[in-house]
């Protein structure tokens, strides 16, 4: 299932590269080719880094290191790859003993709850016993949403009253994780804009409470970014990382037309690597981040643009 989806994505990718290369190949002038690449990078949300990379590329052309248009694509791929950190097959640092606590944070609607659910599925696949904490006490039916996932996954869920203190839920969840001997506790939080001071403080408090109950927790804090997010992603990552110890990015909704290129700037400016990607709304739609595949997809075809 995952594989077939990924393959579909990769197919699109290959088409786009070959399409781009066709546009670049043969009799295309370097000038035209550079313009095409500029468009590919900017429309993938790579942002101002694109300008920098293109300047470098132009430098290569000028000093004669690149002479043909079809050499541009491979050069660019390698160059982009250098910007990304590979999380390897084990992106999460699991504690040797006692529960590992994973805190999931992000702006409204980025994909946190769904990502929590598929993280649990992924952890269960590794034979771990997982407990869930529903610390979104704000949004209507947020607890019910996570509750449905918990039921499908067959894991326990610790909840608190609607509009209650999320830190209290975190506290209870940590306590329950210790008492029930869970290997991993995953805590979902309410979406909040990084500009909202009170809500960011509230989040810091959740992390502090976890640390008090289980020293060192949260051991992994994942910021869920929506792949459609533009340059605001850097601002989000910066502000969240100021309040909680963000370790990495969960890049959700990569199954759409968005390429998620904003993570280049997030990695470069804040040193935060992508650890997982979300490829759909289901439990199985999770992949450990693979920089090569990601870059290929980024340089790959954009279906809508071609019909335009």
């Amino acid at each position: 299932m995952v594989l077939s989806r990924l393959r579909a994505g990769l197919q699109r990718t290959r088409n786009r590269i070959s399409h781009a290369l066709r546009r670049l190949g043969g009799d295309t002038s370097l000038e035209e080719a550079l313009e095409a690449l500029e468009e590919i990078l900017y429309t993938a949300d790579v942002g101002l880094l694109a300008g920098e990379i293109l300047d470098e590329l132009q430098g290569e052309v000028r000093r004669g290191a690149i002479a043909r248009a079809d050499e541009l694509g491979p050069w660019l791929r390698e160059r982009l790859l250098r910007e990304l950190q590979d999380p390897g097959p084990e992106p999460l640092r699991l504690q040797p003993s006692g529960p590992t606590v994973i805190l999931v944070v992000g702006v409204n609607g980025s994909g946190k709850t769904t990502s929590v659910a598929r993280l649990v599925a992924w952890l269960q696949g590794r034979g771990l016993k997982v407990l869930l904490g529903a610390a979104d006490t704000f949004r209507a039916a947020a607890v019910e949403q996570l509750g449905i996932w918990a039921e499908r996954l067959g894991v326990d869920l610790v909840t608190g009253p609607h509009q209650g203190d999320p830190a209290a839920v975190a506290h209870d969840a940590a306590e329950a994780a210790l008492a029930r001997g869970a290997d991993v506790l995953v805590v979902d939080t309410a979406g909040r804009l990084h500009t909202q001071k009170n809500l960011m403080e509230e989040l810091a408090k959740v992390a502090r409470v976890l640390d008090r109950k289980i020293p060192g927790a949260p051991h992994e804090t994942l910021l869920v970014l929506d792949a459609t997010t533009g340059q605001n992603a850097v601002q989000q990552a910066r502000r969240f990382a100021e309040k909680v110890p963000v370790d990495g990015i969960f890049l959700a909704k990569l199954d759409g037309t968005a390429k998620g290129g904003a993570v280049f700037a997030v990695q470069r400016e804040l040193g935060l690597p992508v650890k997982f990607v979300g490829l759909g709304e289901g439990l199985e739609d999770l992949e450990v981040f693979d920089p090569g595949e990601f870059t290929d997809a980024l340089l790959g075809p954009r279906p809508a643009a071609e019909t335009a």
Partner: protein, 467 residues
């Protein structure tokens, strides 16, 4: 949301400002920086390119304004292009809806559809006195139906929902919701739908079927303001499948630079209609291109200045409002508009300052602070359209209802009406004084010279109140 776009554009524009007279090289260099600023602000690549081309044309071509200085010329060109980019000739809500009016919300996952559905329901009830039904047609996301039910209960808005089952289709739910609305004499139905990605053919076909079943008066695309370049891609794809009326931009309470707002209009041809400004049901605003453009350029004065040197289309309209008011045909909406404008520029105070015996009146207006303004707004919003147009029909029981609806004491409603009558009298006598048999044109000129125009925001009163 737009502060940083303002800043980065401001920097780019500074270059133009220093230049005085613009050479072609100045323009090219400046535009390169503007393009960078736009891209950094998530304006779509193609739109940024086109935009700079257009501005360049205005600056170098025949369209340039004569006798205007370089910097003003640039700002003017930008302002014009921004308004053209975002400008909306459509009202935020469809103009002649059927009964019941049906609105459908569509968009990507997590854009804010469900929250916006609740916001629209509240808006329609509060501002148009409509009896609203919410229809829960997201059968994909876990607990989506629950979410809408809870929001409805919170607002006291009825929700048509069916418990999701494997063979339940959202278009069936939509059809039955409509039936219910007709039977229950509802005036409006707001249909929530599942979030989807445009490459998901099954789900795109599904939303088409929902639209076919609901036959909405308006289908809105709900778009997250943090969206980057994909805003345009997705909007285009939704636009190919649905008969989009306009766009609702959400989460503008953040610090995203809003480039999506600039781009979607250009690419889809569909205007922005509403803005989501927070998570709560009251956090919805009607979109105004003019205001947003000015905010982006953050230089209202200069814009006004250059504008004044131009045709008087908008002044004509404002003048008509003046004329009407000065004949004593004042409405509650005029009053509210005045209070709002007053807060912004104190224009009415100037008018009254010129008149003998107006001291008391302007004193009264001066006391209006933000909190009072909010209360005044609440009171006016609690009035029916007829009451706003003809405040003289406000008898005791109507006043009580308004007080209840807006959470104030009846005495406060009475005070509002008092100021209304005072203002009405003042306007009348001012009208007589100024007019003295003069033509409308001359009155207009006189007002212009005394620096009173434009007193109304360009484009007249906030649109929501016109209808």
């Amino acid at each position: 949301m737009l502060d940083s776009l303002t800043q980065s554009l401001g920097k780019a524009l500074d270059r133009f400002k220093r230049a005085g007279r613009l050479t072609e090289a100045d323009v090219q260099e400046g535009l390169r920086e503007v393009r960078r600023a736009l891209l950094e602000a998530d304006v779509h690549f193609q739109v940024a390119r086109e935009f700079c081309d257009q501005v360049g044309k205005r600056l170098l071509g025949e369209e340039r304004l004569r006798g205007v200085e370089g910097s003003q010329q640039v700002i003017h060109a930008f302002h014009q292009e921004l308004v053209a980019l975002m400008g909306s000739e459509l009202p935020a809500l469809p103009k002649d809806p059927r009964h019941p009016m049906v609105l459908l919300l569509a968009g990507l996952n997590g854009a804010g559809k469900t929250t916006t559905a609740a916001k629209l329901a509240l808006w329609l009830r509060q501002r148009q006195n409509r009896k609203v039904l919410l229809a829960a047609c997201d059968l994909v996301r876990p607990a989506a139906v629950d979410q809408l039910r809870k929001l409805g209960a919170e607002l006291g808005v009825e929700v048509y929902a069916e418990d999701p089952a494997p063979d339940l289709r959202p278009e069936e739910v939509a059809a039955r919701a409509l039936e219910q609305a007709r039977r229950g004499r509802f005036d409006a139905v707001v249909v929530d739908s599942a979030g989807r990605q445009t490459v998901d053919e099954d789900l795109m076909a599904e939303i088409e079927r929902v639209e076919a079943a609901a036959r909405p008066d308006a289908t809105y695309l709900v778009l997250d303001s943090m969206t980057g370049q994909d805003a345009v891609e997705s909007a285009r794809a939704f636009g190919e499948r649905l008969d989009l009326y306009g766009v609702i931009l959400t989460k503008i309470d953040g610090d995203a630079r809003g480039g999506a707002a600039l781009s979607v209009r250009r690419i889809t041809g569909r205007p922005l209609c509403f803005l989501g400004t927070g998570e709560r049901p009251g956090d919805l605003e009607e979109f105004q291109a003019e205001r947003l453009a000015s905010r982006i350029l953050d230089m209202g004065d200069v814009v006004g200045l250059v504008e004044a040197a131009q045709e008087a289309v908008e002044e004509e309209r404002a003048a008509e409002d003046y004329m009407r008011m000065m004949e004593g045909r004042l409405t509650m909406e005029d009053l509210l508009a005045q209070f709002r404008m007053l807060k912004k520029m104190g224009s009415l105070k100037k008018v009254f300052g010129m008149l003998p015996g107006a001291g008391r009146m302007s004193g009264l207006l001066e006391q209006v602070d933000d909190r009072q303004l909010a209360r005044i707004e609440a009171m006016v919003l609690s009035m029916t359209p007829a009451e706003r147009l003809h405040p003289e029909i406000l008898n005791g029981s109507r006043r009580k209802r308004i007080a209840r609806g807006s959470g104030v004491q009846v005495s406060e409603v009475n005070r509002l009406l008092q100021s209304f009558h005072q203002l009405q009298k003042q306007m009348k006598s001012m009208g007589r004084m100024l007019k003295g048999g003069k033509s409308k044109k001359r009155l207009l000129r006189q007002l212009e010279r005394s620096g009173q125009l434009p007193m109304m925001p360009p484009g007249g009163r906030p649109r929501g109140f016109r209808r």
